[in-house]
């Protein structure tokens, strides 16, 4: 499998074949992560792999296979659209999961939202400024 012995077409075919197989393996990794991870947050981590990197690899392979230049802007637009929508839906799912306690707190290494939630809950009944409110709350 020495690339110098290939023609240009065969090299492009080989690169796109590798990208397609790796992009499909991203989906398999997401499925394995969905089955084996313990709670919602870790499963969300696994689920992002085919949505961003997998789609990027497959669209790159598609652009290589088409061998024309005008498809690349279309593929980039499709990928950027995915990049814009995936974080929003992941944020909504994670927010709903945190609010409805779909997580194992002992598995979290740090919970930065906990302090903010406590502060908001404590502040809601007070009208003083920060220092007095903190002192008044023991």
């Amino acid at each position: 499998m020495n690339p110098e012995t290939f023609s240009g077409d065969a090299v492009i075919d080989a690169v796109s074949a590798v990208f397609m197989v790796v992009g499909a393996l991203m989906s398999l990794a997401a499925a394995v992560g969905l089955l084996r991870f313990p709670d919602l947050m870790t499963r969300m981590h696994a689920a992002t792999k085919p949505q961003v990197l997998g789609l990027f690899l497959l669209l790159f392979a598609l652009g290589l296979q088409m061998r024309t230049w005008w498809v690349w802007p279309v593929l980039v637009v499709a990928w950027i659209f995915q990049l814009l929508t995936v974080p929003v839906s992941a944020h909504m799912v994670g927010r709903a999961g945190y609010r409805t306690k779909h997580l194992h707190p002992e598995l979290l290494s740090t919970d930065e939202l906990e302090a903010v939630v406590q502060q908001a809950a404590g502040k809601s009944g007070f009208t003083e400024d920060d220092g007095d409110a903190a002192a008044g709350r023991r």
Binding site: M20, S27, L34, R43, L58, A78, V93, T100
Partner: protein, 92 residues
């Protein structure tokens, strides 16, 4: 070589779809099922991409964008629904 790639990716994507469907059926909460359905839509999009790349056409590109749009709208809507529904008994 494209036939080998097609076979390998078909097997891999079938296994991945099977895993996602198992998680949809077995998921302990609604959000797990939403997440697994999102992954299943990503797998469908991957299959559309591989079909386009192997057969060298672009017929599925709009369908790919539509599938990702449907996944976005669906998961955001269900996430809002879950948040509102679970919070009602706590506040009352």
């Amino acid at each position: 070589m494209m036939q080998i790639v097609l076979t390998v990716t078909a097997v891999v994507l079938s296994l991945a779809a099977g895993g996602a469907i198992i998680r949809i059926a077995r998921g302990p909460s609604l959000l797990d099922r939403v997440l697994a359905a999102d992954v299943l839509l990503a797998i469908v999009g991957a299959a559309l991409c591989i079909d386009m790349a192997v057969n060298r056409h672009l017929n599925n590109l709009m369908l790919l964008v539509a599938v990702s749009l449907i996944g976005f709208v669906g998961s955001v809507t269900v996430a809002r629904f879950v948040a509102d529904r679970r919070e009602l008994p706590r506040e009352s």
